[in-house]
């Protein structure tokens, strides 16, 4: 493992990798700073760029966009009280109050310091824990994989959108859409209705860009009049952050890092919940909880450390089992697959240095985030007020160009627009599209593993599991109990978190 880690580190210590990671960070912070434009949209739109680059340039570029976007959301949250991304909603409780007190520079630097600390520590934890987890994952056979995949899908559907019935319905629609084309076992045609263009199935890329970018464009069109921002607020003011102030917040930052890292390892929970939990935990632990919401630096540090600490551990289920925990890791999965890297236990046995190289690039991205963020805070603060009249059509151009270049197939553009419209209507009717994407991605490996299980069991699955697969049996019994507990605890803690 240590040799693989050192090999991986050597693979990413290249100027072009570092330069593209920095570019990704700049683009990510740029998009994150724009109220109404999310990290997911930035990653979906920039995903095709990574396809045509070396894996060790394209994937760190996307990781840069990811980390930059999550941090960038805190800039408008602090300056104008509008969260750039969902992950920074909890930052609006204290951030704008600090701006009103003339301490916006301090707040922005605290957000940066907490983000970098949370992200770096969680990335180191990921690097040192992923190896042992992968060793267990390698021993997982088809029956166990069926259980893990099925329960991952259920937990994603149950935790992402709020309404479980709607989440499970979207999951099933995604599962059905993935069956269109050829089945993964016998390559037999299914649900093609003799339409030649879909015999190879629906491609993931138009779906990802359509569901995550087009609805954001339409929502930005809707909200462009609501978000008129006065440019007078957009300048970091006041003194710089002092070391003593950072040290005063160390307990909250450490607590939030631990919380965020734990949440990141659970599929489907994500940054928003982590930020609220980090904030609530800091408030509960404080001797002066009444000061929270009035302009407390701790109130900025806690959610920012928590939401960035989620970033590293979300890679654990993705890289060890091929299970994306949220829509951002679903996009990263698309990038990995397009580069010929199929995440899962085999990836660790066949290309361990490459996996560690990706994880090391996360650490590099964290270090670069500190530098880029510190130097460019005043620039990104001005980005908040860029006019949507230009951003909306330019984002559309990026989405269309990115979709077209992948296969030069005009039908992909129709899928892009179709999924875009579907995603927009779904968002308006409060149907979360994340379970649909998860269903679409995870169904082929689920069906394949299910087919292998049936073959191994010689058509008697129940007897096979009961007599020969004690681990699978144990998982069937234990996982629902753990999931139920996590889900119940998450709901309980979300209810106790302060309102947005």
């Amino acid at each position: 493992m240590l040799y693989d880690l050192l090999d991986g580190l050597a693979m990413v210590l290249r100027m072009d990798t570092v330069a593209m990671t920095a570019l990704g960070l700049v683009l990510g912070i740029f998009v994150g700073s724009l109220p109404g434009f999310t990290t997911v949209m930035a990653m979906a739109v920039l995903l095709p760029v990574s396809f045509f680059l070396d894996p060790l340039i394209g994937l760190p570029f996307l990781i840069g966009v990811y980390k930059g976007g999550i941090y960038g959301g805190s800039i408008p949250a602090i300056l104008v009280g509008i969260p750039g991304t969902g992950a920074s909603v909890a930052t609006t409780f204290d951030g704008p109050k600090l701006t009103k007190q003339g301490k916006s520079r301090k707040a922005l630097e605290m957000a940066l310091a907490a983000s970098v600390f949370g992200d770096t520590v969680s990335s180191f934890l990921t690097i040192f824990l992923i190896g042992p987890i992968a060793l267990i994952a390698v021993k997982i056979g088809p029956p166990e994989l069926v259980v893990v995949l099925a329960f991952s899908m259920i937990i994603i559907a149950a935790t992402t959108g709020g309404d479980i019935a709607k989440g499970v319905l979207m999951l099933l629609i995604g599962m059905f859409l993935s069956m269109i084309g050829q089945d993964p076992i016998g390559a037999l045609n299914r649900f093609t209705f003799d339409f030649f263009a879909i015999q190879a199935g629906i491609d993931l890329l138009p779906m990802l860009i359509g569901l995550f970018a087009i609805p954001e464009i339409l929502l930005a069109v809707e909200e462009r009049t609501k978000l008129a921002i006065k440019s007078a607020n957009l300048r970091p003011e006041g003194e710089r952050l002092r070391w003593s102030e950072l040290m005063q917040c160390r307990r909250s930052i450490l607590r939030s890092t631990w919380l965020g890292a734990s949440i990141g390892a659970v599929p489907g929970v994500g940054q928003v919940v982590a930020a609220f939990m980090g904030y609530a935990a800091a408030k509960n632990a404080s001797d002066t909880p009444e000061k929270y919401g009035t302009g407390e630096l701790d109130g900025v540090a806690a959610p920012e450390a928590a939401n960035n600490a989620v970033n590293g551990p979300t890679m654990v289920p993705l890289l060890t089992l091929g299970i994306p925990g949220d829509n951002i890791t679903a996009i990263l999965l698309g990038a990995l697959v397009a580069q010929g890297l199929r995440p899962g236990p085999e990836l660790f046995t066949s290309q361990a240095p490459m996996v560690y190289a990706l994880l090391c690039s996360m650490i590099i991205a964290c270090i670069l985030l500190a530098v880029v963020g510190y130097l460019l805070i005043p620039v990104f603060a001005r980005v908040v007020a860029i006019r949507r009249a230009f951003l909306v059509p330019l984002t559309l151009v990026f989405a269309v160009a990115g979709t077209y270049v992948y296969r030069s197939n005009p039908l992909d553009l129709m899928f892009l627009m179709g999924f875009g419209l579907f995603g927009y209507v779904a968002r308006k009717l409060k149907f979360d599209v994340t379970p649909l994407v998860m269903g679409f991605i995870l169904t082929p490996p689920l069906e394949y593993a299910f087919g292998q299980t049936v073959l191994l069991s010689q058509d008697n699955v129940t007897n096979f599991i009961l007599t020969e697969r004690p681990v699978a049996l144990g998982m069937i019994v234990i996982i629902p109990v753990i999931m139920g507990f996590v889900w119940w605890r998450g709901r309980h803690q979300r209810k106790s978190a302060p309102p947005a």
Partner: protein, 173 residues
């Protein structure tokens, strides 16, 4: 006053929520797909008179469509139970700007190959920018010509992938 409003709501009759409509359509599609499984799933080839062993290719489609149907029914029950007016959110937000953006997006997707990337992108960027209130000609020019040109250069020159360069109907292209 109260009795008047009660009677008017009674006269207006049952208003189905968007959730209910979606759930009913979903249940109908799921049922149709379940019925279509025998016709829409190819049969495995029999080699030397022996069929393939293992999972029947129809099992998984039957399983997924059946669960999809039951989950749709669950959603119908939930929609009746909650009775929220969620359709109003959609109707309220369907502003002229959204409809224009959707139509422009579809037109852009259709025009990409016939007009080429730079021209079609320039038209959609300039058109939508002006529609959304931009009036200064220099930023419009930079966004409508400069940015699509730069994207075209990055994709074709740096990443070596193809975008439709010029209008396809020009002779000799």
């Amino acid at each position: 006053m109260s009795s008047h409003s009660d009677s008017s709501s009674a006269r207006s009759g049952f208003q189905p929520s968007a959730h209910l409509v979606v759930a009913i359509i979903s249940a109908l599609i799921a049922a149709a797909m379940w019925l279509l499984v025998p016709y829409q799933v190819d049969k495995p080839m029999a080699m030397f008179g022996f069929g393939a062993k293992g999972l029947d290719p129809k099992v998984f489609p039957y399983l997924v469509t059946a669960i999809w149907f039951f989950v749709s029914v669950w959603n119908i029950v939930e929609a009746f139970r909650q009775q929220e007016d969620d359709g109003a959110t959609l109707r309220g937000s369907m502003s002229g700007s959204v409809i224009v953006t959707v139509l422009a997006s579809f037109a852009y997707a259709f025009a990409l190959e016939p007009l080429g990337f730079v021209i079609s992108s320039g038209l959609v960027v300039a058109g939508l920018s002006i529609y959304f209130g931009a009036r200064e000609w220099l930023p419009i020019l930079v966004c409508a010509v400069g940015v699509p040109g730069l994207i075209f250069f990055v994709f074709t020159g740096y990443l070596h992938v193809s975008l439709p360069p010029v209008p396809a109907w020009i002779p000799g292209v």
